[in-house]
Amino acid sequence: MDALFPFGFPWPTAMYLTFYVVTAAIYAVFMHYTLAGALVLAIGRLRVLAHRRASRGPEAETVSLGLLEHVVEDWLPVMLGMAITAGVAPLLFLQILYKQSFYTANLLLFHRFMLLLPALIVAYYMLYLQRSKKLHAWGPWPRAAAVIVVALCFGYTAWAWAENHLLSLHREDWGEFYGSGRWFFPDSELWPRLGYTITAAFATFALVVGWQLAWGRRGHDPGSLDLAARQLRLLALLGLFASAFEAILWYLWLETPAQAALRSILAMPYGVLVFLGIAVQTACWLPVNGGARLTPRRLVIATAGAVGTMLGAVVAREVRRLVALDLSALEESHRQAARVGGMAVFLTFFLVNALVIAACVWIVKRDIAPAR
């Protein structure tokens, strides 16, 4: 704990920690989009319902979702697919790093944890269903209900993961928890953790949608684009301030050893990175009062801030885990895991497939460009 994360650990442990942190940060981008996107869409649908009830006559039929919600509605199924796929890699490195604690928490929560799988299936299909013409013909209520179900499913998934994570940190409770046959692990740390995840999701979400709007600028009505940009600014700032507050709350909630580790050289620079990233993003979002301000330059700077915040937050979360678990006992198993072959193949295909993905995106971008 006397060196910057992950340099104080033996190289196999440091390597797996690095892979875990990087892949978890990638996963968090998509997860944040789906979580915040579902909530934004649910609020949008409820807003449409409220306006239609308030309006009378033919104009009631014209009340519909704004540009922001349309973009989210269009992209949510894709982002969910990406989130599930991106989630595979950190899950893999997590198992190498903390096998026993991760598996035990899974086993202890049993149905309660496994329920997130049907929840994801339901959410996935509801996302397709709420876009269908048939459901559209039934009026606004079923579509609103479908999106609310999606938001609830995502909320449940986030809650189940957070609880699973916390249970994995409390080895001393495992025996009693199993013996009692309980389904829930009430731990007061859950709420600031979950609070951080949900609030931070809005900032990431706003940034990704900002890029989407900037890329599709020419296809959007300027008025709608201005409104969407202002809505994004509001979401981003709310998310940034609330997540900063939640991060401080979470820190205060922690026990002394965990707080000390977060203040040490191990994690302190990453903590600074989190708040520096929040500051950069805030500075970028504050002047956005219309679509014209969503410039690539501004978005690049905000993205750099978001990367810092994301990486810093994932490392801080990891340091809290490292304090709770005796990683030195696992170092031998990391050493053994690092001896098996295949890393060169992984790195090669990582590179090759990253190029294939880039080629895919480039081909599509090139071909659809004239259609704008």
Binding site: V78, G81, M82, I84, T85, A86, G87, V88, A89, L91, L92, F93, Q95, I96, K99, Q100, Y103, T104, N106, L107, L108, F110, F113, M114, L117, L120, I121, Y124, Y125, Y128, W174, G175, Y178, G179, S180, G181, Q336, A337, V340, G341, G342, M343, V345, F346, F349, F350, V352, N353, A354, V356, I357, A359, C360, V361, I363, V364, R366, D367, I368, A371
Partner: protein, 486 residues
């Protein structure tokens, strides 16, 4: 050995849960893999104007592929992982340790599959012909490679091959059943995709029957490689260990039945395909195509059941038994006991009449619960209900001889006796009081049986023909223990 909390699934066997989910996932994944290939072919037909309806088919098929295979396939894939942890965390732990770079490599292909898949779904009607073909090719290539990588891990569990000698990951990956399994699964994927295509053509294809017929004629060409299935199947059987082969070929009635189901269903599809390819004007309706797809599901189910079953008594051959106990742990447990380090209490501790029954319940949990239930599917109480008490003692002590596809019992005589008493108590209707047994003669007899068979796996006993040789020894041990008791 690391102990994990073990959940009770009530009357449901854990194997049924993971098996059911696994079959479903494999079927969907194979549909996606074959789907990629068939879409590339139809895209070529469209580009070269060989088939006027190909374009519309591609759009409809891809939508079906995304809605069924992408959504359910992706989530059931994650579900497989979590369920594997629930059923056997030690097995998945060993596989992750050994093959994490392979899984990580597979993940990079998943990413390509998802990006290319959604890119095609969203923009296929705005892409140039060349771009469409390229994006589809990326999708098809990535989905087939995901099969390539996972196939190495799955086949490793049955035939670790030269990995056992030097623990070289690549020796384990390119194991004896790798290639036959890969080829077989590729052909199966093509067949499933072709049948799914016939369903989609009928549901969302062109309105004109002639056009649909033309598309179906093209799609059924993907059933033609099924002619190679017997070759790959025979190669797979030949490459697997003799004892595993014997379970599938009559040694175990359930596995033989499932193999028969798989072969029979494949044969029926193959014959139908032959007629469809050879007879001009042959048409496969939506109902028939659905029925054939259901048959393909049955064939997959049969094949996957056999693949999982023939690994017994191991979850990873010669590395870990199906109850997740390794050979060296087993030898140690014969002396110290299998439950001594288990930190998890019994949830229903108060319901047992005495401590011996509590020990029996723990032994059941650690050693038996992965494949058996107490009273439900493959229930121990029913399986042993007609045995006398000494039969129970002997059969459990010599588990690997009782059924060679079961692991050796991993505990000392007192644990055998505790399990025997638990089964007796449950058979008797779980009365409130039940005497503890501590008859030294009974324990000595159990020790004799345990020693006689040792910790050698049943499949080894089969191979060496020790069954016959030890029969004489068994009589001798019985006689000795009786004389000691006297």
């Amino acid at each position: 050995m690391t102990f994990y909390p073990i959940q009770d699934y009530g009357p449901v066997m854990k194997g049924m849960v993971i098996g059911g989910l696994g079959i479903f996932h494999v079927f969907l994944a194979q549909m996606a893999i074959g789907g990629g290939m068939i879409l590339c072919y139809f895209e070529w037909l469209r580009r070269t104007r060989r088939s006027p309806g190909a374009g519309r088919f591609i759009g409809g098929y891809f939508q079906a592929l995304v809605l069924v295979s992408f959504v359910l396939g992706a989530v059931t894939g994650v579900a497989m992982w979590f369920t594997s942890i629930q059923v056997s965390p030690r097995t998945i732990g060993v596989l992750v340790d050994e093959f994490h770079w392979i899984w990580a490599t597979e993940w990079t292909f998943f990413c390509v599959e998802v990006v290319a898949g959604y890119a095609f779904l969203r923009y296929h009607d705005r892409l140039s012909d060349r771009s469409r073909a390229m994006v589809l090719f990326f999708y098809a290539m990535a989905s087939w490679f995901s099969l390539f990588w996972i196939n190495g891990i799955l086949s490793f569990q049955l035939t670790p091959g030269n990995w056992l000698a030097g623990h070289s990951m690549w020796a384990g990956f390119f194991n004896p059943t790798f290639w036959p399994s890969l080829f077989y699964r590729t052909v199966a994927s093509m067949a499933i995709a072709a049948l799914a295509a016939c369903v989609v053509i009928n549901i969302a294809g062109p309105h004109e029957r002639d056009e649909r017929q033309e598309l179906i004629k093209r799609a059924v060409l993907f059933l033609a490689p099924m002619a190679l299935m017997p070759v790959f199947g025979a190669w797979f059987l030949a490459a697997m260990p003799a004892d595993s082969r014997s379970w599938a070929m009559g040694g175990n009635v359930t596995m033989t039945m499932f193999l028969g189901m798989g072969v029979g269903a494949s044969l029926l599809i193959g014959l139908y395909a032959l007629a469809a390819i050879l007879r001009p004007g042959f048409y496969i309706s939506g109902y028939t195509a659905s029925l054939l797809l259901a048959l393909a599901f049955m064939a997959s189910a049969g094949g996957e059941f056999v693949r999982e079953g023939v690994r017994k008594p191991y979850s990873i051959r010669q590395v870990m038994y199906s109850n997740s106990i390794k050979q060296d742990d087993l030898e140690r447990m014969r002396v110290t006991g299998s439950t001594i380090d288990d930190p998890y209490p019994l949830r229903d501790s108060a319901s047992y009449a005495n401590d011996q029954l509590r020990l029996g319940a723990k032994v059941y949990r650690v050693q038996c619960s992965v494949c058996h239930t107490k009273r439900g599917a493959n229930g121990l109480v029913e399986l042993t209900s007609s045995w006398t008490i000494d039969q129970k003692r002997m059969n459990i002590a010599q588990l690997q001889r009782t059924k060679p596809f079961m692991p050796p019992f991993a505990g000392p005589p007192r644990e055998v006796e505790a399990l025997v008493q638990l089964l007796g108590w449950m058979s008797a209707g779980e009365p409130a009081s039940w005497p503890e047994t501590s008859d030294p003669a009974a324990l000595a007899r159990i020790q004799g049986w345990l020693d006689l068979v040792g910790v050698t796996p049943g499949i080894e006993l089969m191979r060496t023909g020790a069954r016959d040789r030890t029969a004489a020894g068994l009589l001798h041990a019985l006689a000795t223990s009786r004389s000691e008791a006297r």
